[in-house]
Symmetry: C2
Subunit: 343 residues, 2 copies
């Protein structure tokens, strides 16, 4: 078992902000980026939470990320923005993209931002959650370091590009899908490798393209896309939207943060935001969301001990628990964060 | 082998239009709906092409579809429209949704239409193709008759909701993903059942939720989602966007056209359209699309006889062949269409 620590959301936010600010970010921007990573930990998505602060700042020190990047926004149409993250910290780029997409949606009912020159922006769930809290539905996606072989091919040329959709729920939890397009996330394989555990079959191949359960070998090979050619197809389309159309790198042009930490990745993201309040009154949405959830929850379960859940429901339960009892993080991650925050 | 017939695109369009018009549609609207179905046949998507005309008109005769529905458009924000298809023919509803989303995108850079009160709208590829020809990227989705059990459940409460993304390519073929969120489409299982062939393992279960390779038993059971819980999650999100947010039916509220052909289905669709020309000049997009395609195509193939393809590439090849050599359809479908067209 990993040794754990529990602390209040505010305290974790302050620590992450301080660490990012000491690492070179401007104060307000550090707080914005910290918000994304702390929400990730509250959702239980530990591999994408405050554990990333040290990794981001390592890259800042190596010149791979510019902590003081001047993010530039070009509003190319009333509801459409191009955001150049100028190689800044990923979650800051993400928050700017979300803000611009929200501004477009407020003005026109739907808005989008295409972000280039970015880095790892955390998980998608925090962005979808922040938008849903304000009544907006979202489609968010990013490209990523190449880890997948195109379907029928045997060379890694495509990321396991995360893709997510969120729908707000006026009186309840939003429904949020946040998935990588590989069967398993690379961070999960890294986690298995770190503790010397094997990975399940079907997750990945070794460097020669042979199926493997050896986590270390899998990190040298490629991830398998979810659902075979359909997951491959979706990963390609995400790269076209988030990478190619944003003006960012795509496919093999994306640099791997783990192999070349000192080089800019030039990742791209896309944020599409819809103002649900334009589609119908709050009570209408509330009633329909409640009805939808009850139809899903009332489905007879194959295993009575495991009731049927909506996408993101487990993460929303974790968020409520974190607000009640504090945020749980790995003790080692917390110590490292405290060092970086100088506290 | 199915007996086939080949005829020019124009001739097939005229036949499908006449059949739909004789079935009760207004002339111009019949031509719009026929365009979608004929494109489906040109893409080689025969189960979603002109073979559907007879099925749609059967439902019109039973009172299940209103061939003369007055589609109503409510522009609720500069870039956002609600379309009430008033139980009209599905591909007409789809074309109206696409038109409204395009209008929003022309005005604001991105636009969306949420369509309710609709029916089976054909495949997604034709809509994505028509938008891409005008330089627009698309995200299109629809809910569908319930055929899937929620993940971990054993009752069909969710459609295998089709989901698609298209990206334009100024000097080449657009890249178009068009997928149902089951491992295999129900139409494919129906096709197997019709010729008494077994289905592959992993496609579906029987009525009790047990895996089956018996196509007839599978039609009484439920489809398996692609990629397990990830495909389930995406199917839920599509239903929330296309069904719930549009004001249409969702989950078990959707009526099955095959079980209740005389009742309105109240399907919902969502069309999101992005004006790619606002993101960069034509030459920029052309060069990047060509580079993207060459990186994918140059991937060493696992089987040298099967080169790596982009999503929709096979369908685009079929379209070019159909334009050169004529559209191939099943001879029986053509005879039925000719009868309906009174020719």
């Amino acid at each position: 078992m990993t040794e754990e620590a529990t602390l209040p959301e505010d305290r974790l936010l302050a620590l992450a902000s301080s660490a990012l600010e000491r690492g070179g970010m401007r104060g307000e921007e550090a707080a914005e980026a910290a918000r994304v990573l702390v929400l990730a930990d509250m959702f239980g998505l530990r591999t994408h939470g405050i554990s990333r602060v040290a990794q981001y700042l390592d890259r800042v020190r190596l010149g791979g990320i510019d902590a003081r990047a001047e993010v530039a926004v070009h509003r190319v149409a009333p509801a459409l923005a191009l955001v150049d993250a100028a190689n800044g910290i990923g979650p800051l780029a993400g928050m700017r993209g979300l803000r611009e997409a929200l501004a477009g949606a407020r003005a026109a009912g739907i808005g989008a931002a295409f972000v280039r020159g970015s880095n790892h922006f955390g998980p998608i769930a925090p962005y979808a959650f922040l938008a849903a809290e304000q009544g907006f539905a979202t489609i968010v996606a990013s490209n990523a370091t190449t880890t997948i072989a195109p379907w029928g091919g045997k060379d890694t040329r495509l990321g396991n590009n995360p893709f997510g959709i969120g729908v707000p729920n006026p009186d309840g939890d939003p429904v949020i899908l946040d998935m990588a397009l590989s069967v398993a996330a690379r961070a999960k394989i890294r986690e298995h490798a770190a503790r010397g555990a094997p990975i399940p079959e079907g997750w990945a191949t070794d460097a020669e393209g042979n199926p493997t359960t050896d986590a270390a070998a899998a990190l040298k090979g490629f991830l398998l896309p979810v659902g075979g050619h359909k997951g491959y197809g979706l990963a390609i389309m995400v790269d076209l939207l988030a990478g190619l159309l944003s003006g960012a790198a795509y496919l093999t042009h994306v640099r791997a943060w783990d192999k070349d930490p000192g080089l800019a990745q030039d990742l791209g993201h896309v944020f599409i935001v819809i103002d649900a309040s334009r589609l119908g009154p709050t009570e209408w949405l509330r009633d329909r969301m409640a009805d939808f959830a009850s139809i899903v929850h009332d489905t007879p379960a194959a295993d009575p001990a495991r009731p049927v859940l909506l996408p993101g429901e487990r993460e929303m339960q974790a968020l409520h628990r974190a607000r009640r009892e504090g945020v749980r993080v790995a003790a080692a991650d917390l110590r490292r964060l405290e060092e970086l925050a100088g506290s």
